[in-house]
Amino acid sequence: MSAQTADVVVIGAGVLGGAAAFHLALGGHRVIVLDRGAPGREGSGTTAGNLHVQAVHTRRPGQEVPLDSARFLPLQRAASDRWNSVEAELEASVELRRSGGFTIAETPEQRAELIAKHAWEERAGIRTEVLDGDGARAALPLLGPTVTAATWCPLDGYANPLLTTPAYLAAAVRHGARLHPFCPVRAVERSGSGWRVTAGDLTVEAPHVVDVAGPWLGEIAALAGIGLRMTPVAIQMHVTVRLPETLRYLVQHIGEGLSVKQVTAGNLLIGGGWPALRLDPDGRSPVSLSSVLGNVAQAARVLPFVRDLRLLRTWAGPLAATPDEMPVIGEVPGAPGFLVAGGTYAFTFAPLWGETLRCLVEGKPAPVDVRDLGPDRLLEPAAPAAPYEEAR
């Protein structure tokens, strides 16, 4: 057993852990990042990598409440701006692309929602444009005949998640952070005015703990005796074989779970939050055929050229949602120094939350006001700490 000290222990080496470690290390803090497996393999290795900037209106299949767009949009706006400097800061390409995107509607109700959404976007300072069906097809001739309206947002984009998390972690390590993969956290206890974290063969004492364990955020908090209402789910992605550059934009659906884009390598990525067969927290969640068929059929209806492609592969990944679908970020009341960050759309928010976590640790004002996004709204009586299985 080696005991170490640090200023901050970051639990989870996903994109949020990477971004937090980078910003903290850049600020001169001694950072230790722990992951139970190889870094960036869970939500951050399976994500679609979309930068959602125009209002997210769709509900994931199974999602119970809609997002509060009035609150969410200003955050998206800030997150969007934050991405502009990521590649320069990390001194690495993450295949960042801001070529814009369409959200499409097929029914009259969806069309009405598009128009309402446009009004909120204006208020949040996000420029979007509403097009009718023919206008949308003129702008993007690949759209099919069922499309009756679309909003265009020039800020939507994509970054390659398989490059982003490694780039954040590499930059964090360059600035002095220490990364311990294959080091599952087993205990988190109070120690003096700070925390003692036990993981693998390590014990680390630090005044701050940042719990960014994604789907396991609640599980890590429970180790510290904190009960948080989070729901881990697994959703799936579908990718076609490569094709020549065909689709430059992100295409999403306002009423159904659907997002389509062509990635830099040439493959088309089809997602939209369709549920996997089940969540397997200890391995790879298996995909559901009915979700494959449903998601691919939507894509082929909205973008008929998809019909002529071949499906290369499918996969599923886990994420943790909050009951109100909003992000969670902040210190846990009654647990000074214990910070959490997570929730849906964490990829889009990663650069912003990385910087925000640094400000929270330093007690400085955050780039955006996140006081209403804290974990207090998720607190519940802690379940009796379950013995943490070591051999997972």
């Binding site: 599952p184 055929l289 071949r310 290369l312």
Partner: protein
């Protein structure tokens, strides 16, 4: 269309055919699916009609077995690729030759998907004229054409010899056979083979044939690189003990190089069968018992999909699974205890023979180590995604902590249409090499194989749409 039968057999090679024949003879309804246009698998692959007319059938027992299976009323779906598993975890999904989707359901499922060749890249491996021995063998046996006029056969394993003989028969000038190990010298390790005189006679026959044709047999040699313009024109060999240093260069217009076989386990894994790493080969293999039973009730894996061991073992394994199903079904045609004991004894003897034979050749782990040394940083390892050895090495060393799947994510090696079938072995070797000692307390990918993902081969979106429409139609 949904086909629902007593037994579904995936793979019409020796193992699948043997199982199907027994089950159908006992009166069970059997569907046999194979992605190839003809049954036969690797060993009983049918020659083209022209070759049949001119040279006759090189493996007539295969033709007879296929005819027998067909005459018993087995529903043979050739040209059908099985690519996935439905949400019930049991129904298999297939695509017919015209893209029509088919769901296949049965009370018992036998996976007999065989093995794929173990390839390893080297500088120049992508040149036209470089093939695997298996491919060359098919060309020679099925079409009567050798892959070139001056051919070097290289790699490791017993099957290099029959391949070289087939190439001679097809009229090629075999410039030599280069074997990485030293299996063909009198050795105490080979003593147990004396209990398998038939196998030994077979091997001796190949050696004699090559000697008559004055084909040199070099042992302890590996391919260190190939060169050429439009096509391979020369190959350099190195000593297995010093693989980075070229020893001699040979002029050729074709090179057949391969290192044996790896079980094809994707379907077994998609069906949820437990797999483990074979103690000797390190290859991922489904955990099976003598009857081919897996961790999933009603799912059997037989033949080379359960572990590489040649045609005789594949046939016995197929027969054992059939016997078990007939017993479970309470079939009057189920074999009695004596026949089962006889089959099981045969199976054990063949398993011992495989172990003995494996011990004569360098282990796959040793090959990974030797061959990685021939890979300079610029060599493309994954040709689907054009990933170099350097890219895999750096992805593996940086933070992947020796995790094969993380190295795949970060380098893209294995992400292309072949799903890592060609590069998987080499990538696993590079990742293992690049990793530092595994940190304590860490769980990591225990079996060195890329995860099985559906579809196992790319499937047309049209097929998926048609499958979805069927669901709508079913209610």
């Amino acid at each position: 269309m949904t086909a629902s039968r007593d037994v579904l057999v995936v793979g019409g090679g020796p193992a699948g055919l043997s199982a199907a024949a027994r089950l159908a003879a006992a009166g069970l309804g059997v569907t046999l699916v194979d992605e190839q246009p003809e049954l036969g698998g690797q060993y009983y692959r049918r020659p083209s009609p022209a070759v049949l007319r001119e040279h006759g059938d090189h493996r007539p027992e295969g033709g007879r077995l296929i005819a027998h299976v067909r005459s018993l009323g087995v529903d043979c779906l050739t040209g059908h690729l099985v690519w996935g598993v439905d949400d019930d975890g049991r129904t298999l999904l297939a695509t017919g030759p015209d893209g029509t989707p088919v769901r296949l359901r049965a009370r018992h499922v036998i996976v007999a998907t065989g093995a794929y060749e173990r390839t390893h890249p080297f500088p120049g491996w992508q040149l036209p004229g470089v093939t695997t021995p298996g491919f060359a063998q098919h060309l020679a046996a099925a079409d009567g054409t050798p892959p070139g006029r001056r051919v070097l056969v290289a790699g490791s394993g017993p099957f290099l010899l029959p391949v070289a003989c087939s190439l001679l028969a097809a009229g090629a000038d075999v410039v030599g056979v280069a074997e990485a190990g030293h299996p063909y010298r009198p050795s105490l390790r080979a003593a147990p083979a004396l209990r398998h005189p038939a196998r030994l006679r077979e091997l001796a026959g190949y050696v004699a044939r090559l000697a008559r044709a004055r084909v040199p047999l070099w042992q302890g040699r590996v391919v260190n690189g190939a060169a050429g313009g439009d096509r391979v024109t020369s190959v350099t060999l190195a000593a297995t003990v010093d693989p980075g240093r070229p020893l001699r260069t040979l002029d050729v217009d074709a090179l057949c190089v391969g290192y044996g076989f790896r079980p094809q386990t994707e379907l077994a894994r998609l069906l949820g069968c437990e797999i483990s790493a074979d103690a000797v080969t390190g290859d991922a293999e489904p955990v099976t018992d003598a009857f081919g039973r897996t961790s999933r009730p009603g799912v059997y894996v037989v033949g080379e999909a359960a572990g590489v061991g040649g045609v005789h073992r594949a046939r016995v394994r197929g027969a054992m699974a059939a016997a078990h199903i007939l017993l479970r079904e309470g079939s009057p045609a189920a074999p009695g205890p004596r026949e089962i004991a006889r089959l099981a004894a045969q199976g054990r003897a063949l398993t011992r023979f495989t172990a003995m034979s494996d011990a004569l050749y360098p282990s796959p782990a040793r090959l990974q180590e030797v061959l990685a040394a021939t890979l300079d940083d610029d060599t493309i390892v994954c040709r689907c995604e054009a990933v170099t050895a350097a890219a895999v090495r750096s992805a593996a060393a940086e933070r992947a902590g020796g995790d094969l799947n993380a190295a795949k994510s970060w380098s893209r090696a294995g992400m292309g249409p072949c799903q890592g079938r060609f590069c998987g072995f080499a990538v696993a070797g590079l990742v293992r090499d690049a990793a530092e000692a595994p940190p304590a307390g860490g769980a990591r990918c225990g079996v060195p194989v890329f995860p099985a993902r559906q579809p196992v081969r790319p499937v047309p979106v049209e097929t998926l749409l048609a499958l979805g429409e069927q669901d709508g139609g079913d209610g």
